[in-house]
Symmetry: C2
Subunit: 187 residues, 2 copies
DNA sequence: TTGCATTGAGAACGAACGTTCTCTACTATG
DNA sequence: CATAGTAGAGAACGTTCGTTCTCAATGCAA
């Protein structure tokens, strides 16, 4: 078994557990047994729990960004690509494992106590805002539109997480449609 | 010193500490010394930490709701009352102590592990949605507007918290204006 | 086969936490 | 003044957690 396979299995398992129960609620022993590795191997791959947390955040960022972009690229027009953001959210919210945005959650849990985590969450959200900004630019929208759509997406995530339903995705999508049509030059 | 004074002081202190550092990062001893009470008194007033957490959530709900309504009631027209929600957020985000919505944070921290906390966060958000719904009804808006505005407000909170700026309040307010004007019968 | 390096299982350790207990000092009443 | 009850300070307890250590088992080279 490859070394990087072990790393990946640890990170993927930790991602699932941290998402399901919260980071602080999952001990190293639970992670160890869920990932099927020895404690020695765990600490051979990662020097500490917080380094696993950071690796999980990187993993989350990558898979979330890729999933979003995959959905967005299926849309044909710039306008539809902006709306596709909310289609991606809708699919995400319907998953049983959905428990809210992992970056919002980790920021809430550890942001006040771990500058690394807070900074990574900030960067993730910043990268999302830039992504929306690029899509909006391609749609010929004014600069103020992208932050508005990003805020809608953020709100949909927390609303869906706490309410336990996926309604917020559709509601945010409809709001986005109004905002986009108000911002785009009529054509 | 009145018994209820002690309770209140404990709750207020716990609210501040939990907000600043996260619930799990604040131990009973830190709370005890910050509130200036003995451990015996602490456990005389509350049977456990989780009961303090629930009392803090109730306190947060009440002060947040009252603060919001106070700002909203200063506005004269129904439309301005809807927009006043975002003025309240703007003022809140500028406070040094602002670290995001306490209900989102406590849900992220404990929601997966404590059904009480998850349920209380759900109820708080539900109550906010109903509040927005009443304001929207008074403005003569269609039913779909209120959830849209609520999602904007949620998104502004998490965006402001993670980004560390208060920009999101103004951005959300402008989006709200567009949504309101699109939804309200022209007059 | 013998000896050495590596690995896994889990015991052990130190710290932190929630909670309870002990002991001392003080207060109030007879 | 004497005494019973109360309250505060903090020691103590049991548990959990992150991390390290021990030791036996395994695989491999000579």
């Amino acid at each position: 078994m490859d070394i990087s396979e072990v790393r990946e299995r640890i990170v993927v398992t930790a991602d699932e557990l941290y998402n399901a129960k919260g980071i602080q609620a999952v001990g190293m022993d639970e992670l160890r047994s869920a990932a099927g590795v020895s404690l020695k191997k765990l600490y051979g791959e990662f020097p500490s729990k917080s380094s696993i947390v950071m690796a999980v955040l990187e993993h989350r960022h990558q898979s979330w960004t890729e999933g979003l972009d995959a959905t967005v690229q299926q849309a044909r027009t710039p306008r539809d690509r902006l709306l596709a953001i909310f289609d991606y959210l809708a699919g995400w919210f319907c998953q049983d494992s959905f428990r809210g945005c992992g970056f919002i959650n980790s920021f809430a849990e550890l942001g006040a106590v771990s500058p690394e985590v807070a900074e990574y969450a900030r960067k993730h959200k910043e990268s999302f805002q830039e992504y929306v900004g690029r899509l909006a630019l391609e749609a010929g929208a004014p600069a103020y539109l992208a932050p508005q759509l990003a805020i809608l997406a953020e709100g949909a995530q927390t609303t869906a997480a706490i309410a336990g339903t996926s309604d917020a995705a559709g509601q945010a999508r409809q709001a986005a449609e109004v905002l986009i049509d108000a911002a785009l030059p009529a054509d």
